[in-house]
């Protein structure tokens, strides 16, 4: 079938979503000055640059990036709302540019914009309306809507008008709408944006346990929230300035972007000048004091070692020579925030 994926090996057939060198540029609206001086010159801005990602069937894939990185543009291309400038994108095996109808049959789209509902209709009426547009027979739709309202814990508020919903309830309804057709593939564009931390946590739990618990689906979850990506995803892509900077698991990312190893050390009986002595140990790159125990009883500090100088017994020996007693010594995992800023700054 024309428009379906061409040169595809067997392994790749397990992919639900795949992009090949996907790029998108937007024309910038000209100022009156530009219109007068350069009427035929086009000003363009690149929103996506040669993006290559593949999401396997049943995989929860986070698209992590700061605001304006290109996450929404990518999701909109995959949802057939925008055409790419170059490259290809396949969803459920169909080219988004040439087989948009087939793609829309496969996907559910959860937008964070609460304006995408009809505010004077109830939650149930909104879902009924969108289920008809998604070709669900009326009888099946009523049953499906009832089940989805239970799933997102809105069954008691289903017959209240949407305008009276809280932001969290609106987001839950958006999730229910995305699941109306029981799609294999779901795109979620920052579903916890504008939610307070407590509700955001609740929505994440709902996505993890109920949406993914209902059955295995492929999910692309755009977020700028690192915790969210870490909590939910199987794999992630970090996107910045329209380009993919990293693709892989969170653990692999932390290992790959680990710079010098960091350790948290607690030393008892720390006398005066101990820190200066420790700083003088050659393989210690940097040192920062965390706590200073009462009466100079102990100190706790974080130290970063030079890459390649990983001989721990040597370091502990050196520490012991400074006069203190090492009470604890453990490696500190880099946070996702640290890794993220390293990825973005290194490649940017």
């Amino acid at each position: 079938m024309e428009g379906m994926m061409g040169n595809f090996n067997k392994d790749k057939m397990t992919c639900s979503i795949e992009t090949w060198n996907l790029s998108k540029s937007f024309t910038i609206i000209k100022t009156y000055r530009d219109l007068l001086l350069h009427p035929f010159r086009k000003k363009e801005i690149a929103a996506l640059r040669e993006v290559n990602i593949s999401v396997k069937q049943g995989e929860f894939f986070a698209l992590l990036g700061p605001n304006g990185a290109g996450k929404t543009t990518l999701i909109k291309i995959l949802s057939t709302l925008i055409l790419p400038s170059s490259g290809k994108a396949f969803v459920g095996g169909f080219d988004v540019a040439t087989h948009d109808r087939e793609v829309r049959r496969k996907i559910g789209y959860v937008v964070s914009d609460e304006r995408s509902f009809y505010w004077r209709l109830t939650g149930r009426q909104n879902l009924t309306f969108f289920s008809a547009l998604n070709n669900l027979p009326a009888g099946d739709a009523a049953e499906r809507i009832k089940r989805l309202l239970q799933l997102v814990e809105l069954e008691r508020d289903a017959d209240r008008v949407f305008k009276d919903y809280s932001t969290g309830m609106r987001q839950k309804l958006a999730i229910a709408r995305g699941l109306l057709t029981d799609p294999d593939i779901i795109f979620m564009d920052e579903p916890t944006k504008a939610l307070d931390p407590l509700i955001a946590h609740h929505i994440r739990g709902l996505v993890k346990e109920r949406v993914m618990g209902e059955r295995k689906r492929s999910v692309i979850y755009a977020t700028h929230n690192l915790r969210e990506a870490e909590e939910l995803c199987d794999r992630m892509a970090i996107i910045s300035n329209g380009a993919i900077r990293y693709t892989g698991t969170v653990d692999a990312l932390k290992n790959e972007y680990r710079q010098g190893a960091r350790y948290i050390v607690k030393v008892r009986h720390a006398g005066n000048g101990l820190l200066d002595k420790i700083k003088a140990i050659p393989s210690i790159k940097s040192l920062s004091l965390h706590t200073n125990g009462s009466s100079h009883d102990y100190i706790q500090f974080e130290m970063e070692l030079e890459t390649g100088n990983g001989n721990m017994s040597h370091i502990i020996n050196e520490l012991s020579k400074t006069g203190g007693k090492v009470a604890s010594f453990y490696e500190k995992e880099p946070t996702l925030e640290e890794v993220f800023s390293r990825v973005v700054s290194r490649e940017g």
């Binding site: 929103a47 709302l81 109808r101 829309r104 789209y109 304006r115 547009l133 998604n134 070709n135």
Partner: protein, 272 residues
Amino acid sequence: MLRAMSKPLIFVWKDFIEEASYKLSFAMQIFGIISSTLIYFFISRLFGGVGVAYLKPYGGNYFSFVLIGVAFFSYLGVSISGISSSIREGQKLGTLEALLVTQTDIPTIIISSSLYSFLWATFKVAVYLFLGVVVFGIDMGQANLAGAFLILLLTITSFTSVGILSASFVMILKKGDPVGWLFTSLSALLGGLYYPISVLPEWLRHVSYLLPVTYALEGMRLALLKGNSLRELLFPNIMVLLIFSCLLMPLSIFIFGHAVRRAKKEGSLTHY
């Protein structure tokens, strides 16, 4: 087939719930119809027999002439602005994006979005005609209802074509649609809404022949007030409206498809 039918109906259901939630609006619109009918009635009393020669082909009564003109001109308003304003509203409210990722094609969404406005326009026409006949005694005893219905269908088709054309501009330009503005203004000025086109200077009359509204209003008046037969209505009114429909509908659908593709390329499908 049933499924295809259910989509326009679900739009009508949704729009009715929304409209019904604005309770005062309905009463105000009915009051508007009654007050404008009274205005035309008193104007026709003021001028009495003046201009009877111009009105003779339509029965000689200005009130019945203008009432039918105003009533059926509302279809033009809905056709031109109904479709484009449903797009504009969807862009502004943010609902268009949610509609466009459903399994419903864009033309069905756009046409269905304006269906309620057509039904509302039909209701307004019915109120106008009811007031005219029952309250003010317009004689429609010899009306050719089948002919009027055929003209109405062709009127809606040809006007809708222009509406789709206008929506194409809204899709790209968002605001400032030249087609809708030009067509509505010219139609009101030259289409025989408030006065017969025979009062126009000859050169302007030639321009009015290029507008479908001229034939729609002429045909409707002749069918309802004079009871002209289908054969009498066929030329030029039915024939010209048919030609307009056959030419404009495919052209407007083609241009609309092009506009949607361009908006998708520009990424501005849901911008406003």
